[in-house]
Symmetry: C2
Subunit: 424 residues, 2 copies
Amino acid sequence: MRENLLLEEAQEVLLNQARPLGEAMVPLTEAWGRVISRDIRAGANIPPFNKSPLDGYALRASDTKKASPSNPVRLKVREVVRAGFMPEQEVIPGTAIKVMTGAPLPAGADVVIKYEDVKEGKHGIEVYQPLKAGDNIILVGDDITQGELVSVRGSLVNPALAGLLASLGLSEIPVFFPIRAAIVSTGDELILPFEPLTRGKIYNSSLYTLAARCRELGVLPAVLGNVSDKAEAVAGCLQQGLDTADIVISTGGVSVGDYDVVRNALLELGTEIIFWKIRMKPGSPLIAARKDNKIIIGLSGNPAAAMVSFDLVAVPVLKKMMGQDQLLPRKIKAIFLDRFDKPSPERRFLRAQLHRRNGMDFVRLTGGQGNGVLKSLVACNVLIDVPAGSGPLKTGQQVNAYITGNINESYQDDLRSSLMRIAY
Amino acid sequence: MRENLLLEEAQEVLLNQARPLGEAMVPLTEAWGRVISRDIRAGANIPPFNKSPLDGYALRASDTKKASPSNPVRLKVREVVRAGFMPEQEVIPGTAIKVMTGAPLPAGADVVIKYEDVKEGKHGIEVYQPLKAGDNIILVGDDITQGELVSVRGSLVNPALAGLLASLGLSEIPVFFPIRAAIVSTGDELILPFEPLTRGKIYNSSLYTLAARCRELGVLPAVLGNVSDKAEAVAGCLQQGLDTADIVISTGGVSVGDYDVVRNALLELGTEIIFWKIRMKPGSPLIAARKDNKIIIGLSGNPAAAMVSFDLVAVPVLKKMMGQDQLLPRKIKAIFLDRFDKPSPERRFLRAQLHRRNGMDFVRLTGGQGNGVLKSLVACNVLIDVPAGSGPLKTGQQVNAYITGNINESYQDDLRSSLMRIAY
């Protein structure tokens, strides 16, 4: 068993153990949020035929060479073609075929003119301008060419990809198996939100935080509940997790004290302990083990520490098991717009929010940084990475941070003067 | 009926019509992804008592004043307190109480020293340094103070908020009703992915794109399917949407041609048509109507146009109906790292991807910009807003864009030389 790893070592060791579970074909309607398990090539052109992008008339550009407002060209309309139907006629010189948006381009036509740009008469239309061959035609294969690679293994199916796969006529999609994570909290002090609060007890939040985080990631949470601080009880519960889920996440019982029992439970279960403790704060007392090719990650019992280390250590593992190809959180540089007066003898992650203003990235702390403080995680979307041996952080200094939440709301084009004052 | 609105007018008109449906209490386990319907104040302090953040000994700082490595202070250990249990004794001068992580601080103690920093003997411990009162104690209310506002109406329940609400012992959460959006596509040319492709037909993608986009937003999609281009059939289908959902989204049948039938269907149903057409490309032929306080939005039948106008026009409406307080997409400025040679007589939205490099925002087109091209939406996370009357866009020019997708993956700290070459 290794001890006191760097975060990056811990990530690497665990990612080396993690594997996607397998793959299956699922109905397209179930594919959103899943991960493509095989490269997908287009079996056909999209669109499958040349078509009109608008309501208008398909004709021959050569017929309009001499057209002008004072000398319009008159064309006989041979047919009306709606989307979904094939033209029965051909466009021969001196004629046009009316086409609706999406209708196939009739043979013989090489241009479409907008409905609004012609004058319609009883027997035909008048065109007032010379047209350029190829205008207003969507060519066969304009969106997708037959054989083209449309999605690669490891891609998350987003709404546009779901539509793209539909447009190829794919009703079943190869995706990786979904994964199930068992979640259990250890601690005699823990009660559930519907229980009355008695002296010395606290409401467990980590089960809810981690279950919601799993749902957000597309992982099915199997919430096993709270278990007492006894190695036997914990072992039973972890084994239940191993039996019913693909990975087990626990909180609590991983630090150095007498009653810290997860390690004993893991030994009792005959798991191979991979490492214990990561050189970072919060979340240092993290234990990782393996049994029957399933990973067990024991997080700190402190709610904020549990969530921070979940995001940095467990999330990449879950993503790899889901088959995703983007595993580690994105790293950014930003300007620290706050104060943090404590030195950091150990590497420290601070809960912060990205503020993008006037083309620059700023980060501000989202509140107290204590291990138990969950409040500051609600608005947190980045974790500032403070290197071991750092002194206090000063306003205006550059910091590194990892993106762990949605940063879309961090963009604001209204500049707040207070921020500007500090920044410049 | 108004015609040819600015996008911003269309958004405003529709947002003025949209309302949240109502509110309900739901179990905390169901709250993730929902929107808080009432401000929530803490009913208690968190933590509810002073506690130890680590495994150690609770003692009186004044006892350690003269402690040093050569002259340790010896304290008798009176009791061991585990998390979840109350101390039975008090710390009196000359004594200490062993406390586990999370255990309540015993009366009389004003500091906790780490387990590793003392020497444990048979009857007591030795302390080698003077301690400062208050160190290593998590004070009652450290995370949340009783009465504090913990969440406001309109907040989306994210994982940390779910945990925070759990930590307050809230097992039921006030949230807005979920909303259901009926989705229907009109068009005789449309077939579903499991049908064989016949001449003149195309696979419908919009049902799948829009249903997935709804799921992503937390809206329940009710997919009604494809309906033929006949006003009666469309009217029947829209009425079914009105009967079974809270908002109806259709695609197709909204442009100027003969067979464009959604408007006729809306009139047949006796709906009030709010506006028709928006001055933008793609997605211009959009129709909005209302019946029985329900909104109907008819989008273009072109797959890309449908999705772009869904994101810009329908998504803010859906978010308001869900009770959210952040409705419009965020606007950013970025440097255009591509070429777009067409002029834009009309306002135009280009599908692009944000690339954040070296502290700057760049945008690149994600592919073809034709109305039917869905491929370029797969990697699109911003829409470049090209003002009406613009000429071709040049590499390096500044553009405005709206964030419509996840931009987390747009951050890269590895700089690609090709990008840098163009940028500088």
